[in-house]
Symmetry: C2
């Protein structure tokens, strides 16, 4: 029953998942930008995904796409592969968290279910990848995430970093230098309403962070 999908298809499904995670449908243009593919090509591919049996996406002209149950399963499978691979590259081959993305991006499409099970077991079935992203479970459910963006915190609030949502090497290196990595506890000591800067404390260190950073760091209070 389960058809073998092409790498291209898997990339579309994964990207649609990411764009529709907050509820809305994914627009052709947003997909095109994220995938680095022209908008017309995306339209064509979407039509194919919608016409395939079983349909992988729900699509109406000019209205964007959403995933069907089948499409979502396939997307979560790829995302599980990706995140397990990232964790595993870091844990067993000494990759740093800013180096793993590209490698996982290629490997995620070719590993077997057996391989997936073996690395998951070898790591003791981790629930988050090195960036703190939640790993879909073996039965392909995405766990609930109680985290909120750091940018939503205000003076006096504190919590622990759960996740840094970025695959930008330079940003990740920078954050690591600042100590802004998962598991770190932080306190917000000031909020500047016009530029949305947050002043935070990590241990005895004080940092002022702009929205471009605080919107990518997620916190559990």
């Amino acid at each position: 029953m389960k058809k073998k999908l092409t790498i291209s298809t898997e990339d579309y499904l994964k990207t649609i998942y990411e764009l529709t995670e907050q509820g809305e449908s994914a627009s052709t243009n947003a997909l095109a930008k994220k995938l680095n593919i022209s908008a017309p090509s995306v339209t064509g591919m979407i039509k194919k995904l919608a016409a395939s049996k079983p349909a992988l996406v729900e699509y109406q002209k000019h209205q964007g796409v959403t995933l069907t149950r089948e499409g979502k399963r396939a997307a979560l499978e790829v995302i599980r592969h990706h995140r397990l691979l990232e964790a595993w590259l870091v844990q067993t081959l000494g990759y740093s968290w800013d180096e793993v993305h590209e490698e996982a991006e290629r490997l995620e499409h070719v590993i077997s279910e057996d391989f997936e099970r073996r690395i998951a077991a070898a790591m003791g079935h981790p629930t988050r990848d090195p960036h703190g992203e939640l790993i879909p479970t073996e039965d392909l459910k995405m766990p609930e995430d109680p985290s909120i963006p750091l940018s939503a915190l205000r003076s006096g609030q504190s919590g622990t970093i759960t996740c840094v949502k970025s695959s930008e090497t330079a940003l990740l290196r920078h954050l690591e230098e600042l100590g802004l990595v998962p598991e770190t506890e932080i306190q917000v000591v000031d909020y500047s309403p016009f530029d949305h800067n947050l002043t935070i404390k990590i241990g005895r260190q004080t940092l002022v962070l702009g929205l471009n950073i605080t919107s990518k760091i997620f916190i559990e209070i």
Copy 2:
């Protein structure tokens, strides 16, 4: 300078390498059979490989193909990936030697040079894969192999198994049960000239092996 090759191209080059290892050129038909691709498709692909710049193969109509220096380098790169991956799947994820081939077959095309270096270093730069196949060096030279097929031995001769040249799951399982794995010492006690059966001893165990097996086991005397 180094162009990124397609998976298909890498598979052709690898297969041509294997078919031309003993010196002769590889025929269209032999390639077609090994790659499970129709002969006309192979002709077409060969022409492309010969026309590419730099040329990856040397080709004259009806005369088969050989690899150019560039083609050979690319083939050895893929073979190095494959064999390092096999070793690594066995050593770190508990795969058995009959399970690794398929997985390595897919992974070999997508791992980075960085990944290659990391697994090689993690294993202490192994020289042979789990079947005993020699791993091309980092500078892409294939080491000389002093081994000869078991089928070439005669009564009284003895040696150590270096390599089992097969990726057939069933055969590999069988050989493992018989103890016919690399590093094992054997003595030939009898040769039957008409059916080419060899009677051998492993420790105190005596086995009679046909040509289909003895031609795939390699020995260092």
